[in-house]
């Protein structure tokens, strides 16, 4: 998964060039115009909007309690009462799929925002200051980059999970671990962008005029380097949702009674041969969510890339 992220990152390192200096047609304006014409963008926006509403107000979609078990009706096929059927415990799969959105979206969004913040901040510092700080930060990033995301997360979760309890603590722990092992890809991207922007004349001019390093970073470097970071973070969001599900699937991420798609898929393992619907509904939902975020990232990237027009 790391390599997928770095591949996107690599493709983006060229970054937005700024293009012609026409005052009316800015790069952002062009990109937005391009974006509005893409059906994939609108499709992904609708998917994400529905998922976010689902995560915040699950009660809008169903009145059934996702933890109400009918053991006598275990593995029931989809019917008018339980639209998606019932799982091994006799839970209503439709209600559980709805309530499961919260954990996945929460982990995905927080981990993405976290990696973007940590990676960008350190990348800015490393790229801007250079010297031994850059060397040190780059080596640290390499150390974390050398540990595969899933492997690092499995070991770290095993260490941590007996020390925390409660829904938000567990979600927070999963997020923190994903951030710790996920920030180097954003760091590399940001550092490369800064190094590319820094020698430009307008940055040198700002420095000659006596602008403080903070002002130069905020007004000149950051706006140019932010685009690729946002794109990769959006794609990473999908990746993080999938990793969270993989961890729950292995039985070490979120735990029952938490309702999440990964937990549901893990529960379904014993039943898939006789009643595949127990696996297919949560897996389908998970795939749609990942699809939404990856499509969004893809279309934003294409809109920002002058070569693809």
């Amino acid at each position: 998964m790391t390599s997928n992220v770095s591949e996107t990152a690599h493709a983006l390192e060229a970054g937005p060039e700024g293009g012609d200096t026409d005052a009316v047609r800015t790069l952002k304006g062009d990109a937005w115009r391009e974006l509005r014409r893409r059906p994939l963008f609108w499709l992904s926006a609708v998917i994400i909007a529905v998922l976010v509403v689902m995560a915040v107000f699950p009660g809008l979609f169903t009145n059934t309690d996702p933890r109400e078990a009918f053991l006598g009706r275990t593995r029931e096929s989809p019917n008018s009462d339980a639209w998606f059927g019932r799982d091994v415990q006799g839970y209503d799969l439709y209600a559980r799929v709805i309530y499961g959105a919260r954990a996945s979206i929460l982990v995905g969004v927080l981990a993405s925002v976290g990696t973007a913040l940590v990676g960008s901040l350190l990348g800015l510092v490393a790229g801007y200051t250079g010297g031994w700080i850059d060397a040190l930060l780059s080596r640290i990033a390499e150390v974390f980059f050398a540990i595969p995301l899933l492997l690092g997360a499995i070991i770290a979760l095993t260490v941590m999970r007996e020390r925390v309890s409660g829904y938000f603590m567990i979600v927070g722990m999963v997020v923190a671990i994903l951030v710790v092992f996920g920030w180097p890809s954003i760091f590399r991207l940001m550092r490369a962008s800064v190094l590319q922007v820094k020698p430009n004349d307008y940055v040198q001019a700002a420095r000659a005029l006596g602008a403080s390093p903070l002002r130069i970073t905020m007004n000149h470097i950051l706006p140019n380097a932010l685009g690729p970071v946002i794109v990769v973070s959006t794609i990473n969001l999908g990746v993080f949702i999938a990793v969270e599900a993989a961890l729950s699937f292995l039985g070490i991420g979120l735990q029952p009674p938490t309702v999440s798609w990964g937990v549901m898929i893990s529960d379904a393992r014993t039943a898939i041969r006789s009643s595949p619907h127990v696996l297919l509904f949560p897996a389908g939902m998970l795939s749609v969510a990942v699809l939404g975020f990856i499509m969004l990232g893809d279309s934003v990237r294409d809109a920002f890339d002058p070569k693809s027009r």
Binding site: S3, E7, R139, F144, A146, I154, I272, R273, L279
Partner: protein, 308 residues
């Protein structure tokens, strides 16, 4: 080139030490008594525990423990598992299986990914292009454990085309389906990478020159465009090989393969710290070496890049 290689090898040392120390510290911070269950139904005697702690330097501070471990590891001593087997012997066997799986995945990835990417890139916006774009999007978004279970049930159990699980000494034939599952996500990314490279290079000046010279379109595409489009693809394949080995943990679980991923996962559950540390240390080293080879290869493939 020689100088560059040596410099890169030297730069790798702190990274290897940092990453393996981090993993070592995490593994030995895992909760539970490492001697639990080693003496049958009762607790181990204090004498046994003392000897155990002495054997694995558990009384020393963590950095000292790690330094002693590393000193042993360099000489080929990775310690013993809980059942008293040399970790290095078990790793040899396990890595054999996982490497086989990785090679199958890589071959599958290269064939299908490059093929689909070329077909799509030749006519951007055409039917093949849309088909490849949509199908890769679907493959990327379906998690690998779902692909694995669905492939196992439908291709293995229902249709009987492939063996459902893999036997003790995994043969090449048995590993084909797991290899395909393992490679599925990477195939999709590779096809997309190949497609965008092809489409971009087909519009470049040197391709127009080649066409203007009157070369046949087979030669323009097959020699000029394809070779240049392959450079990023080869590097992607190289980086991915390490990632595939690390990511095999789920695929190995589904198909019951006795590889490294399963070894690490079982080791974590059984608190077999030496086994886990040994396996992940070797994994990190392989991963970094694969990346180094790719970086060196890059200069060979693309004469514009010089390492001197």
């Amino acid at each position: 080139m020689g100088k560059y290689t040596i410099r890169r090898l030297l730069q790798m040392i702190p990274v290897i030490i940092g990453a393996t120390f981090l993993l070592y510290a995490m593994v030995f911070a895992m909760p539970g008594d490492p001697t639990a269950g080693m003496c049958g139904q009762r607790d181990c005697s204090p004498v046994f525990k003392a000897a155990f702690n002495e054997r694995y330097n558990l009384n020393d501070p963590l950095p000292v423990q790690y330094a002693k471990y590393l000193a042993g590891a360099v000489q080929g001593d990775l310690g013993e598992t809980r059942s008293g087997v040399q970790v290095i012997d078990e790793l040899g066997e396990r890595y054999g299986t996982t490497l086989k799986l990785g090679v199958i995945a890589l071959v599958f990835e290269a064939l299908i990914g490059i093929g689909a990417g070329v077909l799509a890139g030749l006519r951007k916006g055409g039917f093949m292009d849309s088909l490849v774009l949509v199908s890769t999007l679907v493959v990327i978004s379906v998690p690998i454990f779902v692909i694995g279970y669905v492939a196992q049930i439908y291709l293995g159990v229902r249709l009987g085309w492939f063996p459902v699980t893999v036997s003790f000494d995994a043969g090449w034939g048995e590993l084909i389906l797991p290899g395909m599952v393992l490679a599925s996500t990477s195939v999709a990314y590779l096809a997309r990478l190949m497609r965008s490279n092809m489409a971009e290079n087909l519009r470049s000046d040197y391709v127009r020159t080649a066409r203007a010279k009157g070369l046949s379109s087979g030669r323009v595409v097959g020699v000029h465009t394809l070779r240049n489009s392959m450079i990023p693809v080869v590097t992607f394949l190289g980086y991915d090989f390490g990632a595939l080995l690390g990511g095999a943990i789920i695929t190995e679980g589904i198909f019951n393969i006795r590889g490294v991923g399963g070894y690490i996962f079982d080791g974590i559950h059984e608190q077999d710290n030496m086994a886990v540390v040994g396996a992940v240390t070797v994994l990190v080293v392989i991963y970094l070496l694969a990346n180094l080879v790719v970086d060196l290869l890059y200069g060979v493939l693309d004469p514009r890049i010089s390492h001197d």
